[in-house]
């Protein structure tokens, strides 16, 4: 099943190593700044186990995604058209596209909220949002290769932030993460659900798969990417559990940022200002990938220029961040997006089954 528009010109392809950066950078975004509270609310200090459970699940889903894409050899649009036919498939694709637009809105609004609560309460959202969206547009307009570059920059610049996590440990209580399990498997699973917002990016592989040069080789890098993500989340959670007492963590909305507060190097104090500012580099690739994926899927469905879709989506994005004003609305949005994301992740195995069945049926017909 070779759709003509899934053929990408050679010079736009990315090397398989880049899949590592794509997968990882999409999974580390605003979610990691405050996920500790959500996972600890269900499973307490045992929540680190639920991260490992989530990790294992993610590896499985990644494997399934690769199986689907290999079976169909295309992107999500070709998969859905293959499974459901042109019209229902097109509808599914459009939902998929809207979902990534929603994710984009959630990430951008949450990040603006971080800046509002932590640095500039009076931040003029209309201007900040506008410039931020223009920045995203500047990247997305450059095409997938440029977005991949943003991912690489984000991962490289995010690395020192990860190393700075070692600093707060000296103020904490290491025995907090003594491996004793006192939560039920249900609680652990509920906690795993709490961390899901961070891991939604994996589905984007459905869109950029045709852009990978050596697809078979990229599997290894994709799994590395997921593994590195899990390690990042695990380290972040463990450091937070060491640094905060279990009941304290429920009080804190942005545990990772609060943790930066204590970092104090001789020439600079109060690391959170640097941390949040550097987080722009981590959030930009997230937003670019989401917006790119949303617009690309729409382009593939309706066969219109991606640039036009991009304009429309950018405007929708800009309007949407206005309607979300307070903490509660943003929280609801986050929960809603997580919920939808969870269903989407659970839908992937179903999709795989459908692909396998249909393939068998058609083969039999042909035979």
């Amino acid at each position: 099943m070779n759709n003509s528009s899934t053929q990408i010109p050679e010079n736009l392809l990315i090397s398989s190593t880049m899949v590592f950066f794509l997968i990882h950078s999409m999974q580390v975004g605003v979610g990691i700044l405050g996920f500790e509270k959500y996972i600890a609310s269900e499973a307490g200090y045992n929540a680190w186990i639920s991260i490992i459970i989530t990790g294992a699940g993610l590896h499985l889903i990644l494997w399934i995604i690769y199986r689907i894409l290999e079976a169909v050899d295309g992107d999500i649009v070709s998969v859905h058209t293959f499974v459901y036919g042109k019209y229902i498939g097109g509808g599914m694709n459009f939902l998929f596209s809207l979902y990534y637009l929603l994710l984009c809105v959630t990430i951008l609004r949450t990040f603006i909220e971080v800046i509002q609560t932590w640095i500039f309460p009076q931040l003029p959202v209309w201007l900040f949002g506008l410039i931020f969206i223009l920045l995203i547009y500047y990247y997305v307009e450059g095409g997938f290769r440029v977005i991949t570059g943003a991912c690489v920059a984000g991962v490289i610049l995010g690395l020192p932030l990860l190393l700075f996590k070692l600093y707060p440990i000296q103020y904490g209580n290491v025995s907090n993460v003594y491996p004793i399990v006192d939560h039920s498997i249900l609680e652990l699973l509920a906690s795993a659900k709490g961390s899901i917002f961070g891991f939604l990016g994996i589905g984007l592989l459905f869109v950029y798969y045709p852009f990978i040069k050596n697809k078979n080789d990229s599997k290894k890098w994709a799994h590395f990417g997921v593994f590195y993500t899990i390690i990042t989340y695990l380290v972040t959670a463990i450091v937070a559990f060491i640094y905060y007492s279990e009941e304290q963590i429920h009080q804190i909305i942005w545990a990772t940022i609060s943790l930066w507060k204590i970092i104090n190097v001789s020439f600079i104090e109060r690391f959170e200002y640097i941390g949040i500012s550097l987080w722009v580099f981590v959030v930009i690739p997230n937003l670019c990938l989401c917006l790119w994926a949303a617009s690309r899927v729409t382009k593939r469905i309706f066969h219109i220029k991606q640039r036009y879709v991009l304009w429309i989506y950018s405007i929708i994005l800009y309007v949407a961040i206005f309607f979300l004003e307070d903490r509660r609305a943003i929280d609801r949005l986050n929960n809603f997006t997580s919920e939808v994301g969870l269903y989407f992740l659970m839908y992937i195995p179903v999709l795989y089954l459908l692909v396998v069945i249909i393939k068998k049926v058609r083969n039999r017909h042909e035979a």
Partner: protein
């Protein structure tokens, strides 16, 4: 690559559209260095802010300004202080916050919530309780060369490395919210023209309930953390002997089952004898080790007993049991805590006796 000049110029233009944020440059803000809160009556508290005024002249000296005001909440005090200040108040550089002991005995939870909510305030802020009036303490001038705020901070830092457990806002919040631990703070006193670290006070969550003198604080530090500093003088056979700590380690172990736990605290102190008065060369190292061991065992056991009698847990024994055994019930633990057996095993090794015989 296609270049759209319109897009580029728009990007540049929006940067020029200075929909800027309200801001004050650093010299136009009143940076609070130390804050003190005292109880006035049932409802009202008095807050005092110490604001250093840096002046540019040959001496580069510092003048200090104190602004006090009364209110029911920190925000109210804050507002009232600003009504007396020419510059907007910024709490971002606050380095130490004092509470008068009257206030500490009543309830400090209201002020703690403010501290943890405000994003401007760091987590390395020192907290302290003052005997009597906190306002008087920060109004004192203790050094000709150092500003008071810096003096207090240095005093705190210096003593934290040696005699008192590491303490800051984060540590306080950790214990304050924890089910298995109670917070504690250093205790200050103004003595004539000097200020001194008078001891250590312990809270039952939000109320100060118990205190120890400075001489006992070293023992508390030994129980709280591993460190390499400080000294402890004792009396031994008509001699004054002092032990310099060059490395102590503390480990908490739990024996017995979940319902009847028994704590074993293993404390190892490696030390160096710094002083024997009057000088006596005949005292054997073994004897001294024994003497110090007895001293530490007695004092640590006594300290823990006092904690249990007051039903406070500054050492975080509850945290230990919660982490090791799981399924922690804070209320049951609170009931059980005073009667739990705690044993301290001390071993002291004297490695050196200084450079003279």
């Amino acid at each position: 690559m296609k270049h759209n000049p319109l897009f580029h110029s728009l990007l540049v233009l929006t940067f020029f559209l200075t929909g800027c944020l309200p801001h004050k440059s650093i010299e136009d803000a009143a940076l609070v260095d130390v804050a003190a809160f005292d109880l006035i009556d049932e409802e009202k508290i008095k807050g005092t802010m110490l604001i250093p005024q840096f002046i540019q002249d040959e001496t580069g000296g510092v003048e200090e300004k104190h602004i006090s005001s009364v209110g029911e909440s920190v925000q109210e005090i804050y507002r009232n202080v600003e009504s007396k200040s020419s510059k907007p108040l910024r709490m971002g550089k606050v380095s130490m916050i004092f509470f008068g002991d009257e206030l500490a005995k009543k309830d400090i939870s209201r002020y703690i919530d403010f501290l943890q909510r405000d994003p401007d305030i760091g987590r390395e802020v020192y907290l302290g309780v003052v005997a009597g009036n906190a306002e008087d303490l920060i109004k004192g001038k203790y050094s000709k060369t150092e500003p008071t705020g810096e003096y207090i901070e240095q005093l705190m830092e210096q003593n934290t490395t040696k005699y008192i457990p590491t303490q800051n806002l984060q540590k306080f919040l950790y214990a304050y919210y924890s089910d298995g631990m109670d917070p504690s703070l250093p205790y200050f006193q103004k003595e004539g023209k000097e200020m001194k670290l008078a001891g250590y006070v312990f809270f039952d969550k939000n109320k100060m309930v118990y205190s120890i003198p400075f001489s006992e604080a070293f023992v508390l530090k030994l129980l709280s953390q591993d460190f390499k500093n400080g000294l402890q003088p004792i009396e031994y056979k008509d001699h004054q002997v002092a032990l310099e700590n060059i490395g102590s380690k503390v480990k908490y172990r739990i024996k017995g089952d979940k319902n009847n736990p028994e704590f074993h605290i293993n404390l190892k102190v490696n030390g160096m004898v710094g002083e024997i008065v009057p000088a006596n060369r005949k005292i054997a190292t073994k004897e001294l080790e024994k003497a110090f061991k007895d001293y530490f065992t007695e004092h640590t056991t006594q300290l823990i007993q006092e904690f249990q009698e007051n039903n406070i847990d500054p050492l975080g024994l509850g945290e230990v049991i919660k982490n090791r055994h799981g399924n922690f019930d804070p209320e049951k633990w609170k009931e059980k805590y005073p009667n739990i057996p705690v044993k301290v095993n001390v071993s002291v090794r004297i490695l050196e006796k200084g450079i003279a015989g």
